[in-house]
């Protein structure tokens, strides 16, 4: 798609109201998850007295900083359930929101570079198929057919021994996704309030009552946390400790290039993931920086390792220039799975721990989290992702399929 085919935007997609003194539901965090949650609360549950509070500008955190990859080829049943639900929503989202999101199902290859990788990958393909998720195992020559610029020579240090392939996976235009949810939620009466930072959470007799903000106190029937990398910070305001650590996760783009990369390629072993944006940039990510940090910037050696991996896999990239790099702050949980559900505080809900994979879950988690908030109990698809699992031991150990080293 060329740039002259991109849609024009109206001047304003949502109003910027002053916050009221009270709402049925206050959502803390105006990123993709917060906006999707507000949208499905209004659409599926008829709850429209909602404020989404964003300390910066709408969708200016991780939503503006991710690599936009969408897939559902996770290993465990619980993960396949929620990510596949999300993928099915992605497939109808443009029509549902009445807004273009440039969802492109160009497929994803997860490369295998060792016999252990191969065994794990084939196992995952079988697990995906048992869960109704499209998945294939491809040999090196078939990888080359899907993405001709991948180097499948056996002579490199970490040769490509094959790949899992999910044809329904793809990418979307992250800004448009956020704007589409924001516009649709605002049209149903949701107040989207930017530059309003939550500075405290009032809890009385074990029940949440209000949030304190830079714009004053806002009473709330229910409070739903959607703060990604800052979940520990806002959780602590209500006395709720969360088992997550915040880390920088970096990404970068090249200058604009002719269409050269027709799919999404991920490699966990040599550690890079690449797609080509609609406009033409090569979009690349790697793993998190090892140390905890709230700085939206990581270390340069992570980028060097990622570029080395990219060059071995894609020799054609050798002449491309890096245009810009950036980082987001991701909240990583001990089992590489999210925490979505109830907290020890009544009517306070949490959605965090998505680590490096939150973007693809945007509609799915919005749908399930809205159900959880509306009914005061988890949707079946997020019941396994409770805070209690760290006490019961029923972990969803998704490290292998998370595709990014945590």
């Amino acid at each position: 798609m060329s740039t002259d085919e991109l849609p024009e935007h109206p001047d304003r997609l949502w109003n910027s109201p002053e916050p009221k003194s009270s709402y049925d539901v206050v959502i803390v965090g105006g990123g993709g998850h917060g906006l999707a949650t507000a949208y499905y609360l209004a659409k599926n549950h008829g709850i429209t007295d909602i404020a989404v509070l964003e300390k910066g500008w709408l969708a200016g955190g991780n939503m503006a900083r991710n690599t936009t990859i969408i897939r559902s080829n996770y290993l465990w049943d619980e993960s396949a359930g929620i990510y596949e639900h999300s993928l099915k929503l992605w497939e109808g989202l443009e029509e549902d929101l009445g807004y273009p999101i440039l969802f492109s199902q160009r497929g994803v290859l997860n490369l295998a570079h060792s016999m252990q990788d191969v065994r794990e990958s084939v196992r995952r393909v079988n697990a995906n198929r048992l869960n109704g998720v499209d998945a294939e195992w491809l040999g090196p020559e078939e990888v080359k057919e899907v993405c001709p610029i991948v180097n499948v020579s056996p002579d490199v240090r970490y040769p490509v021994l094959g790949a899992t392939y999910q044809p329904r996976a793809g990418i979307a235009k992250h800004d448009y996704v956020a704007w589409g949810f924001a516009r649709a939620a605002a049209a149903m009466g949701v107040d989207l309030i930017e530059h309003c930072e939550v500075t405290g959470i009032d809890v009385v007799d074990g029940r949440v009552r209000a949030v304190q903000t830079t714009g004053g106190r806002i009473a709330a029937g229910k409070v739903a946390l959607c703060a990604a990398g800052h979940s520990s910070v806002v959780g602590r305001m209500a006395g709720v400790e969360l088992p997550v650590q915040s880390h920088p996760l970096q990404a970068l783009v090249s200058e604009l290039l002719e269409p050269v990369h027709p799919t999404v390629v991920m490699s966990n072993a040599v550690h890079v993931y690449v797609s080509q944006a609609h406009k033409g940039e090569l979009v690349m990510g790697a793993g998190i920086d090892a140390y905890t940090s709230y700085r939206q910037r990581g270390a340069f050696h992570i980028i060097e390792q990622q570029m080395a991996a990219a060059l071995e896999l894609f020799p054609v990239f050798a002449r491309a220039h890096v245009l810009r790099t950036w980082g987001g702050v991701v909240d990583v949980s001990p089992d590489a799975s999210p925490v979505v559900g109830l907290t020890p505080v009544d009517e306070l809900y949490v959605n965090c721990g998505w680590g490096t994979g939150g973007f693809k879950a945007t509609p799915g988690v919005g749908w399930c989290y809205a159900h959880t908030i509306a009914h005061g109990e988890p949707h079946p698809l997020n019941a396994a992702f409770s805070l209690e699992r760290f006490t019961t031991g029923a972990l969803v150990d998704e490290h292998g399929a998370a595709a990014v080293a945590h």
Binding site: S232, L242, Q245, T292, S293, R295, A299, H301, P334, F390
Partner: protein, 92 residues
């Protein structure tokens, strides 16, 4: 990129080190006495402050010794470095 002052080798590039997470997390004195909740806290819950944080680093590319650092996670500024077994500096 962090410049980390190893207590034995002096200031070196972050790439020489391995990160070890929160410092001063003691193994339980009587593991058998812990409740499930207490085990969960020991295994899975670590402080994640936006501000000063005491953490462990290992200088893997040189002396290979562990030590502690107080670093501000909001700015990455390093406030203090001290050896394992020493108390966290009060000033940090």
């Amino acid at each position: 990129m962090l410049l980390i002052p190893c207590p034995w080798c002096g200031p070196r590039d972050e790439a020489e080190f391995h990160y070890g997470g929160q410092a001063h997390v003691a193994y339980p004195d009587d593991p058998a006495a812990l409740s499930d909740t207490e085990w969960a806290r020991y295994l899975f819950f670590r402080d994640n402050p936006k501000g000063p944080f005491a953490e462990r680093w290992n200088h893997t590319a040189a002396c290979r010794r562990w030590f502690n650092v107080v670093r501000d996670t909001a700015t990455n500024e390093i406030h203090a470095v001290y050896r394992t077994g020493e108390t966290r500096p009060v000033s940090a």
